[in-house]
Structure formats: C-alpha cells, structure tokens
Amino acid sequence: MILKVEHISKSFNGLSVLKDVSFELSEGTITSLFGENGSGKTTLFHIIAGFLKPTSGNVYFQDENLHHKSADEIDELGIGRTWQTPRIFKNLSVQDNLLLATKDHPGERVLNYLLKPGIIWREETNRKERAEKVCDEIGLARKLQKTAGALSYGQQKLLSIGMLLMNDAELLLLDEPFAGVNAKMVDAISELLLQLKERGKTVLLVEHNRSKATEISYKVLHLVKGRIQEQEGITP
C-alpha cells in the first residue's frame, strides 16, 4: 500500500468535518473520491498533503507517518497535489514552470555560477531535457516556450500535473482535474492519467464528473457527511 489513511477525524471550532475516515491506496492505481459540496473532500486532501493537521488519526505514505511532516516535507517525500483552479506561474513560460517544480538546483546559489559553472550547465541541460520530455507527455510539446498564462484553462491543468511529474511525485492528489474543461480536454487528461497509472504512479482524484472518473478508476470512494463509503470499481 502506498497510502494508508487511518481513522482521520477533523473538527473546526467543534464542527466535525471528517469522521473516522479510513482507506488505503494501492500503488499504480487511480481512485476517485466523490462527495457533495462541503462533504470534506478538500479537507481530506489538505490533511494528506500536510496543509492541515487532523484532530485525530494518522496518514502513512510508504509506511511513513506524515503526522509531524510539513507540507513542504510531504511534497519532498513524493506526494504532489493540484488545486481546483490551476496554481501555476502565469507570467512565466511553460518551461520555467516545469523547472521551478524541481528542487535543489546548484544554480540556486548565485556564487556557484562562478565556482561551478560546468555543474550548473550540465544540471540545467538535464532538467531542460526532462522538462521537454514531461511537456511531451502532457501533450504540450509545442508550448514549451509559451507563457503559461496564455494557455487554455485545460492546458493549465495539464501543466499543473506536469509540474508534479517534474517533481517525481509518486502519489498525485488531483482536485477536480476535469472541472471547467471541454470534452476533448477531459479525454486528454484522462488519457494522461491512465498513462501515468501504467507507469506505476498512484492517483487520487476528487471529481464531480462521475462518469469519466469512474471510467478510469480502480476504486471509487464516496464521502458522505464526513464518513467514507467504499466501493470497488472496475479496472479499465
């Protein structure tokens, strides 16, 4: 199991949003999380990604308890998340967005440009090649140098998934990847998710487009008034 959510409860000022939520995700699967507005889906995402701490319960990623980890540390471990509205750097190019998602570049220390120019050049070349590859995977191959703000809404969603891939995320938490995009783009995104699954990535997605999400999911979870009801799906 790549992710284990055990007895998670969360209250805000006495209002109980999540009640004893438990489930597990197997490696290389897609799971959909459905629920009405206010059922606690986003709160659950926030807890897994470390933006919120649960009132009780634990989350384990590859058997490591995430309780004392910050959002940044959880990101480093390999859990990446996207947001309902794509959170990208709209003034920067697609390539720069992808490069920013990678960590520990020697060029982050300006002095290294004088001390280790060769290392920086090699690292930069490798990362740019990788950005190109990821761009190809997410179907934005010809948009590499385009300003991210000039992309369509659906393409911006693809870019935010690409940023998770650049960061080598093993578990992708996707918040409504199909929302607000046209049918063609829904197909492109679901095709990408299936390809990622084939490559061993695990995806948990929150979605309102139930038919498309169910179609590609191995498992479907229903969150009703803060409690989870699990349903097995069909592996596509």
Binding site: D72, N91, D96, E108, R109, G149, A150
Partner: protein, 288 residues
C-alpha cells in the same frame, strides 16, 4: 547640440534606470509602493559623505552601501513584513512608506542641514569627443550604470532569480513549492536600495545632493516601472531612458518647471495606450 543633449540624456537616463530597477525589484516582490526608496537614495549619498571622513574612496562607497542595505532590511523587518503578516492593504503600506520617508529625510536634514552638498570628484577637466563635451564624472556614471544594469540582467538569468520571478508571479504557489519568500523580500530590499544608493553617490559627484531630492527621482522611477511593465527590467530601463529624454526636451524647449508634470502625462498616455506597459507577456484576455 543635439548630440550633446542625447549624451546627457543617456547618462541621466541610466542613473534614473538604476533607481528604477531598484524600485522595480522591491515593488514587484514586496508589492509595497516603496516611496521610502527616495530616503534610502538620499541616505546613500549622505552615508558616503560621512564615510569619506574615515575611509578611502572605494571603502567609503562599500561602507555606505552596507549601511543602505542594513537600513533597507530594517525597514522591511520593522515595517513592511509586520504589515504583510497582518495582511494590511496597499494604502496602509503606502502611508507607512511615506512615514518612513519623512522620518528619514527630516533626520538627515536635522543632522546635515537642508543646503546642497557638493563634492569635487577630482577626476580632471572635461574633454571633447567629436561634437560632445564629456565631463569625466559622466563617463564614470555611464560605465557604472551600464555595468550594474548588465549585472542585474545577468542575475535575472540565474536559477535563483527564477524563484524571484515565481514569487512575483504567484507568491502563494511559490511558497508552496518551498521558495523562501521572506528571504527574497529581504534580498530585494537590500539589493534594490543599494542600486539607489550608488545612483545617489554618482549624482552627488555631479550636481550635488540635498535631503529633498529623493522624492522627485523616486516618483520618476516609479513611473518608469509602471511604463516598463510587469516587472520587466528591460522595460524599466527603456522607460527610464524615455523619461530622461522627455525631461531633457522639456527642460531645453519648454521649462524645467514642467519636467515632472510632463513625466506624469507620459505615464497617463502610456497606460491609456497599453495598460500592461511597454514590455508585457502574452496572456489570454481573461488572465490580464
């Protein structure tokens, strides 16, 4: 005559560009309309005047830049950062910045007086190049400004500055990706203010300095940043040169009193023509 006017414009434009690039680095990262930049500009020149009593020429410049850097960091730590943490609006930070400006300028006037301070740089007499008469300090101003602006342009190509650009674009996303936005704010405050400090020292060697010169040049710099567009260093430098040209033409053919007024008319004209400024990014209409 025109060649001479153009040369003078180039030098004064590049000096304005130094102040404007500094203002741009600070404004775009902190989102503070940092009018106290004018006080740090003046403080740069007065710090040099103080240090030259103790140190050599270069030592005095380094000493005054360190002081400017420290003052900028103090302003950020004691005023801007606490206001940002409280999520104060831009109007409040602007008023606070004016407050800091007034405090510092009054303090400088109290300590050194209101009269203009002149310094002879001791660089020898002027010389002619074709029809242009060049004063040696102009050459120093020109070379220093070109080197510094070039240096900043190179800095913007580094991986470190990519993080600054990310912060300028979307601060929250940048911090989620582990960008230390507080550290970047401090670096930009220090670096931007030092650029203003150097411009002030160079100006001191030429036309002298008094405590009240900071506001005029800061307002012109702010206009250059807005006209330049969306945090573009290149755009800011171009706009500064354009403003300097307009100010020279106004001074020469109309009256020096109209200099600032026409600068703001230029701002209005450019904003009406291109809201996003001279240099802008291609965006979808709904993203603008």
């Amino acid at each position: 005559m025109y060649a001479q006017l153009l040369f003078n414009t180039l030098v004064s434009g590049l000096l304005l560009a130094l102040v404007a690039v500094g203002f741009s680095l600070i404004f775009n990262t902190t989102k503070v309309f940092h009018l106290a930049h004018g006080a740090l500009y003046v403080a740069g020149a007065y710090a040099w005047l103080q240090f030259r009593e103790l140190l050599s020429g270069t030592g005095a410049i380094i000493g005054s830049l360190i002081i400017i850097g420290i003052l900028a960091i103090l302003i950020e730590k004691l005023v801007y950062q606490p206001l940002a943490k409280k999520k104060s609006g831009q109007a409040i930070t602007l008023i606070s910045s004016i407050g800091v400006y007034l405090f510092m300028i009054n303090l400088i006037a109290l300590l050194y007086g209101n009269e203009t301070q002149f310094v002879n740089p001791g660089l020898g007499s002027s010389f002619s190049l074709a029809t242009i008469t060049i004063v040696p300090i102009q050459l120093v101003q020109l070379i220093t400004a070109v080197l510094l602006i070039g240096g900043i342009m190179l800095l913007t190509k580094t991986k470190w500055f990519l993080k600054v650009k990310a912060m300028i674009s979307e601060e929250t996303v940048a911090s989620v990706l582990g960008v230390n936005t507080n550290a970047i704010r401090l670096w930009m405050m220090a670096l931007g203010s030092m650029l203003a400090g150097i411009a002030a020292i160079l100006q001191l060697f030429d036309t002298g300095m008094d405590p009240h010169r900071g506001m005029t040049i800061t307002l012109s710099a702010a206009v250059a940043v807005i006209i330049g567009g969306q945090g573009s260093i290149k755009g800011t430098v171009l706009a500064a040169l354009l403003i300097a040209l307009l100010q020279t033409i106004t001074e020469w053919f109309v009256s020096a009193q109209w200099k600032e007024g026409l600068t703001f008319l230029l701002l209005i004209a450019v904003i009406l023509w291109r809201t996003e400024g001279i240099v802008s990014f291609k965006m979808r209409v709904e993203e603008k």
